[in-house]
């Protein structure tokens, strides 16, 4: 079947089968391999993308569910001029990843968090992010990165 949706701001049309997940379509059909797949059962968050601004697990969402909706993946996060989004920069500045396999999902979940709650407390960060697993970092630097990104976004807004 033909699937049309808005992908990272661009109208996109792709052939896919009814049983294909969004992760499969993104990775195999559209070559957007930034979205990672680990647990495949919606517990690790590695595959998090935003659908109409809300975080979803692309590993279990059937692709046709996003027809006519808007999908944002890690590839669509950088600014139009190619510079990094403040969340991406904050993850680098705070050493908030090691192997990087959880990172696209972490960054997308962070985007959803900060869009909704621009100044989250530690508790709010932990609560919101609890569905994303990282096996490398012990989470501490990720929390720092989220706070740094929040501050940076606030500052940019103030300008």
């Amino acid at each position: 079947m033909k699937l049309s949706f808005l992908l990272n701001g661009r109208p996109t049309e792709v052939d896919c089968e009814a049983q294909e997940t969004l992760a499969e379509v993104l990775r195999a059909r559209l070559d957007l391999t930034g979205t990672k797949v680990s647990c495949e059962v919606q517990v690790c968050g590695a595959c998090t993308v935003l659908v109409d601004g809300l975080p979803v697990s692309a590993c279990t969402l059937l692709a046709y569910e996003v027809r006519d909706r808007s999908v944002l993946t890690v590839e669509g996060l950088a600014r139009p001029d190619g510079s990094l989004h403040p969340i991406q920069q904050a993850f680098i500045d705070e050493f908030a990843f090691q192997c990087g396999f959880c990172t696209p999902g972490m960054i997308m979940a962070t985007k959803a968090l900060l869009d909704d709650n621009p100044k989250p407390t530690d508790d709010e960060i932990i609560h919101f992010m609890d569905g994303n697993i990282c096996r490398c970092t012990g989470y501490v630097p990720i929390v720092r990165a989220i706070k740094r990104a929040a501050a940076q976004i606030q500052q940019e807004k103030g300008k």
Binding site: K36, S38, L84, C99, V143
Partner: protein, 758 residues
């Protein structure tokens, strides 16, 4: 090397941002899971439902006839290949031959145009089994008359990583045994002032690297090329030369970014199978395991440790004895080395005059165990550090003070014939104690503990590298070290940039392609900073020496009139940059100078271990007596790293390892019910999450430049895991007076123990 004291470093010893940062935050970083080759087919694996069974017959005709299927692989049709591999013991068939030895073992593989077609074809393979009695624990496996897993005899592999023999294949289920003895243990226990004795258990753990095992193979007239998520591409290459009977030069392993390893991706895993699939199907084949399949591929050895430790009347430890049974599962993998290491690591970090350790690594019909972060050290430190606290309590001493009085001292030869101790444990412990406000009694329901460990780390020192200084002063480093996330591709260019005095941004890393990058034995055992770091340092210096000679020739002066400065040389007023030297030497603004280094078991590296990997961790926990739930409230890590080439990366390794150790201390455990793994999915296997993170974390590095690595560096990255499980058990005792000697300390276990106390 250690004579060279801390100086004004420009690049080294700074937390420069990760080299792979931009790629990893934009989704551009390429892992093997992301690689697609032209005309690539996909494999799926049929796994045994039985833990131990004879394969009576396999009929794959129906599966092979399905549309879109290119080949079905079984042991029936692999004539021409050597089916058995293993760097320690060649006991592992790339696909089950004649019998299966654990539930989940690969029995057949289908290669098809896409994963779904391959998967759907699996159920059309008809396998008839004749079930055999399974043995699931070392105790069962060692019983008289126990079913034998391996009937054949084996030769020890040359690359097994230790000098002793291998026990496997001698007519019992013992895979390896290791014995360590000095002093007179019996006499020491006889005159001891106090003794503590007990049995401790460290569970089977799953490392859960978030990227499951994945490999792509291509077989052509040029040999075999494999893209793999392997930590040790050169060791895998060695196994493949035997499987395919090809020269080393015809096996090529390429390792792009790896999505986590923690030991679980060391040595050969699925590469022989996927290569055989590609060979049979005559096209490139990708095999991507799921997490559930990864859990059926490798786990940690669990360990049941009986241990006793004795002190004299002055509170000095005078003896330790232990008997350790490790459950290595169906195949040896790296467990013989884990067995050797566990034995050695039962002693330190204490200076003990009478020691006897006997360790047995036993085959059972369970998922094969292999390396897991810390290599046996986590297993035995759980026992050792619990017992240290128990002993301190028994003689009325503060466990922290008791440790201070007994840890190995800097320079002490606490382990006969090994490198004298190169850490400063007293200093490390003091830092941890300060971070935890040790003297302050914790609030009710809270408990504290500090623990430490040291490991004979670094694996076998065999590493080589090439650095190429280009005519514009930029540099390419060829390194066999893989980037697992530990940051080696940031640390290595930091060292080269520092030595050559060129900007960090101008140093590029070309890595982990066995056809291009020089030999590096492995990326594990926390060895990369020390060994590869030292190699690139020496290669940089060799390049500099050559450029000094070139400059002397160009300036028509003696080499000793030349002084090396940042980014070039000086002689009086004359200054030449590397770029000018190379361009003038060749007469064109192009060309290069090549620096090399070979590290082997000689010189600074002649005495094992390469270094003692040493760390302390401290925790404060809270215990909910109603539910048995433990939370780690406060965590302190102290990494004794000699010199941190990149402090942020070193701290990141420590907290990552400590978090993993916390997981095993609190809830991580693979559970078998009979022959089946019952929590073989991330839905059921609980790992630490954001909400488990301690709210207060302090990370410390101790930098005394006492290692043999570059500028006195030593490795880190594993050690902070080791003392965490025992810390949690000790802190529980501190909080409640209840002692549990089996981790993980799940709420149920704690609740029951608290109830029994009442």
């Amino acid at each position: 090397m250690s004579a060279e004291k801390k100086r004004d470093f420009q690049i080294v010893n700074h937390s420069v941002p990760r080299r792979d940062g931009p790629a990893k935050v934009t989704g551009k970083a390429v892992y093997v899971s992301d690689v697609k080759l032209p005309a690539m087919a996909y494999a799926k694996v049929l796994r045994s439902p039985y833990a131990h069974a004879k394969i009576v017959s396999i009929d794959s005709a129906k599966a092979a006839a399905r549309p879109g299927v290119y080949a079905v692989l079984t042991s029936n049709d692999l004539t021409g290949l050597n089916l058995y591999y293993g760097h320690a013991v060649k006991d592992h068939p790339l696909i089950a031959v004649d019998k299966v030895r654990y539930a989940g073992e690969p029995v057949a593989a289908v290669v098809a145009q896409d994963e779904r077609t391959a998967f759907e074809a699996l159920e059309f393979i008809d396998v008839k089994y004749d079930e055999l009695k399974a043995v699931l624990t070392p105790k069962e496996a060692l019983d008289k008359g126990a079913a034998l897993l391996h009937e054949r005899t084996f030769e020890a592999g040359a690359l097994r990583g230790f000098e002793g023999e291998v026990a496997a294949g001698r007519g019992s289920n013992i895979c390896q045994e290791s014995h360590l003895k000095w002093g007179d243990v019996e006499a020491a226990f006889a005159r001891a002032a106090a003794v503590v004795e007990g049995e401790y258990y460290f569970p089977m753990a799953y490392a859960y690297a978030m990227e499951p095992y994945v490999a792509i193979a291509e077989v052509s007239d040029n040999g075999v090329t494999i893209y793999s998520s392997a930590q040790h591409p050169f060791m895998v290459r060695h196994d493949l030369t035997t499987v395919f009977k090809l020269p080393v030069s015809q096996i090529r392993l390429i390792v792009p970014f790896v999505g986590g390893g923690y030991g679980s991706k060391s040595y050969t895993k699925i590469e022989p199978l996927v290569a055989a699939c590609a060979w049979k199907a005559q096209r490139p084949v990708k095999l991507q395991l799921s997490v559930e399949e990864a859990m059926l591929t490798t786990r940690s050895d669990d360990a049941l440790t009986w241990m006793r430790t004795a002190v004299d009347a002055h509170g000095k430890i005078i003896a330790r004895q232990a008997r350790i049974y490790m459950n290595t599962g169906a195949y040896a993998e790296n467990s013989p080395l884990v067995c050797e290491k566990a034995t050695n690591r039962t002693v330190g970090p204490y200076s003990i005059p009478n020691v006897q350790i006997d360790t047995y690594s036993v085959y059972t019909n369970t998922v094969p165990a292999s390396s897991y972060r810390g290599f046996g050290c986590a297993q035995v430190t759980m026992a050792g550090e619990s017992q240290i606290d128990e002993l301190a309590t028994k003689i009325g001493k503060d466990p922290y003070e008791f440790r201070l009085a007994n840890v190995a001292k800097p320079g002490e030869e606490f382990f006969p014939k090994m490198r004298p101790f190169d850490g400063t444990l007293k200093q490390d412990l003091e830092i941890a104690a300060k971070a935890l406000d040790w003297q302050q009694t914790p609030p009710k329901g809270h408990g504290k503990s500090i623990g430490c460990s040291t490991s004979d780390a670094g694996a076998y020192p065999l590493t080589s590298t090439v650095i190429r200084v280009h005519a514009d002063s930029s540099v390419s480093i060829l390194t066999g070290s893989t980037e697992l996330g530990q940051g080696s591709h940031t640390v290595i260019p930091q060292i080269v940039a520092e030595e050559l005095g060129v900007p960090f941004e101008k140093v590029r890393v070309v890595a982990s392609d066995t056809a291009i990058t020089p030999y590096d034995r492995s990326t594990g055992a926390s060895r990369t900073t020390t060994l590869m770091g030292r190699a690139v340092l020496e290669a940089s210096r060799e390049a500099i020496e050559q450029m000094v000679r070139m400059a002397a020739e160009l300036l028509k002066i003696k080499t000793d009139a030349i002084e090396v400065v940042r980014g070039g040389v000086r002689c009086g007023e004359a200054r030449l940059t590397w770029s000018e030297i190379i361009s003038r030497y060749y007469g064109l603004p192009d060309g290069e100078v090549i620096g090399r280094a070979y590290i082997r078991k000689a010189g600074d590296f002649s005495k094992p271990p390469v270094f003692w990997e040493t760390a302390c961790t401290g925790v404060e926990i809270s215990v909910d007596e109603e539910t048995g739930l433990i939370r780690v409230e406060k965590l302190a890590t102290v990494g004794d790293v000699g010199l941190a080439i990149n402090p942020a990366l070193a701290e990141g390794q420590d907290i990552g390892a400590a978090t993993m150790g916390m997981g095993v201390g609190l809830f991580e455990e693979l559970v078998y019910e009979g022959p089946q793994l019952v929590n073989g999915s991330i839905l059921d296997y609980r790992v630490p999450r954001f909400s488990d993170m301690p709210r207060q974390v302090e990370m410390h590095l101790v930098e005394n430049q006492d290692g043999v690595g570059p500028y006195g560096a030593k490795g880190g990255g594993e050690a902070s895991l080791n003392s965490m499980p025992s810390n949690i058990a000790n802190a529980l005792y501190n909080a409640t007076g209840v002692r549990i000697r089996r981790v993980p300390l799940t709420p149920e276990k704690v609740w029951r123990a608290l109830k029994e106390r009442q």
